[in-house]
Amino acid sequence: MNSKTQNKIAIGGLYGIAGLVVLILLALLGYILASGVPQLSWHFLTAPGKAFLKGGGVGIQLYNSFYLLILAMLISFPIALGAAIYLYEYAKDNWVTTTIRTAIEILSSLPSVVVGLFGFLFFVVKLHLGFSILSGAFALTFFNLPLLTRSIEDSLRTISDVQREGGLALGLSRWETVTRVILPAAVPSILTGVILSAGRVFGEAAALIYTAGQSAPALDFTDWNPFNISSPLNPMRPAETLAVHIWKINSEGIMPDAKAISSGSSAVLVIAILLFNFAARYLGKRLYKRLTSA
């Protein structure tokens, strides 16, 4: 067999494998969308759920998912940003940073159900936060922090060292160089990382089952006082998210249209995550263009 035929066989094999992957993904996506999209309606997206009757919606779960996502990001982003800046811009390579990096690696491969159980024991029980949005947001922070830190650190790494030297040579301190030169240049790539990790957080269920809880009490969308129990802003109320909702109705849903609601919710979740991904690419590209050519 000569090298030309060998090459052809290799290419054929690789095309086959790549095609298989695409096929599986498309089939999965197609199935979820095909069975879910017909269930979608304005009523389904906004109405509260019903426990025993058909015709319930996922309005509260959808809102909870977004609220929890925003809270989790508000907590985890500043911490991740600080950690990444320290690790990449300040820390020298020694045993301390090696330990931190190893800890981040381990945390990022921790099964999310373990994060959830830890959150239950620590935030829910020990700190008396109960099944609440706050407990869920903390658990998601633990889940999200390692990934976000690494993604921001990678963004900083893409900025060439000659930029840092340029800042220092102008008499800027290291801090001024990082905040005025490096971070602005890294914004597009940091933003992409943040949105992608938001997609993961949005679809997370296991870490939330034991922390944010599995019930979605009725909300009064006219009451924005965060201290009222029925206020959408109250962070101390239990809050079932969309992903948890899917898990729950599939395991113990007793409404007659459980299957339909589950399909519809899955479609909403997949569409939302797809939107996150597209938004990440679009915004990243746009920002980069604005910075480079204007």
């Binding site: 340029g166 040579a169 102008l170 008499g171 240049a185 910075l291 204007a294």
Partner: protein, 274 residues
């Protein structure tokens, strides 16, 4: 024949020729005494004892790895985090190589331009103005004025005056390098250090850059590392020849290129090695 390193070094030590400056019109503004640089345990610069005359161009030449860039980067302490530098760096009578010196303040007086043009991901205007704003220079009028003068001094004004709000990353290599010079002189340094500023540029841009440097020496003291011996010969008054971490010869440029005192220098400038 077996010659051990000490003997070799001793022979090299003997053959050195470093002048002291005595030009009353151009007094010494910067000098180094007994400067040694170590990367970890490895010594990269064994000694550099040089004096630099104000408002003149001094060139540092030598083969790759001879320590000339290491020496230059020590002068404004850009090597602080990666190397250990011992010895004295006297700038206007003050030793700036000591911990109590405010390095950020010092680097505003001893500016630097690098080998690869490194404009920031900002507009042309902001590349120059933002460091000034950080130092409390405010007022649109004042900033406009400094941006214009710096760009004129760097011979870039005519090409970019209508595009000041465009991104600096869209400039060509030669323009970007002149923007970096404009950025460096906008904060009004005393001394400008240039680390092979033309090595990434085409011949035309290089020529323009050299003209720029020649016009700048009226206001600044310039120290330039270059691989290009013709460049050193064209623009500098003094030349230092580095070899294997040592300054072997330092004299006027015409002396170095026409009648060098040290054999190794002669070999290098006539292209026998390096």
């Amino acid at each position: 024949m077996f010659v051990n390193n000490d003997v070799k070094n001793a022979m090299a030590m003997e053959e050195r020729h470093v002048i002291k400056l005595s030009d009353p019109d151009h007094p010494v503004i910067l000098s180094t005494e007994d400067l040694h640089v170590y990367y970890g345990k490895k010594e990269a610069l064994f000694e550099g004892d040089l004096e630099f005359a104000s408002n003149q161009i001094s060139a540092l030449i030598g083969p790759s790895g001879s320590g000339k860039s290491t020496y230059l980067r020590s002068l404004n302490r850009m090597n602080d985090r990666i190397a250990t530098v011992t010895g004295k760096i006297m700038y206007r009578g003050v030793d700036i190589n000591q911990p109590s010196i405010d390095v950020y303040e010092m680097r505003r007086r001893v500016g630097m331009v690098f080998q690869r043009p490194n404009p920031f991901a900002k507009s042309i205007y902001d590349n120059i103005a933002f460091a000034l704003r950080l130092r409390g220079v405010t007022g649109k009028h004042k900033l406009d004025e400094i941006v214009e003068t710096s760009l004129k001094q760097a011979a870039l004004w005519d090409q970019v005056k209508d595009d000041l709000n465009k991104s600096a990353l869209a400039l060509s290599g030669g323009q970007a390098q002149r923007l970096c010079i404009a950025r460096a002189i906008a904060i009004k340094p005393d001394i400008l250090l240039l680390d092979e500023p033309a090595s990434a540029l085409d011949p035309v841009s290089t020529g323009q850059l050299e003209d720029t440097l020649l016009s700048l020496k009226e206001h600044y003291t310039i120290i330039i590392v270059t691989h290009n011996m013709q460049q050193a010969a064209r623009i500098s008054e003094y030349t230092a020849f580095f070899n294997q971490g040592r300054v072997l010869e330092y004299d006027t440029t015409s002396h170095i290129f026409t009648n060098p005192s040290v054999q190794v220098t002669s070999d290098y400038v006539s292209g026998n090695f390096g």
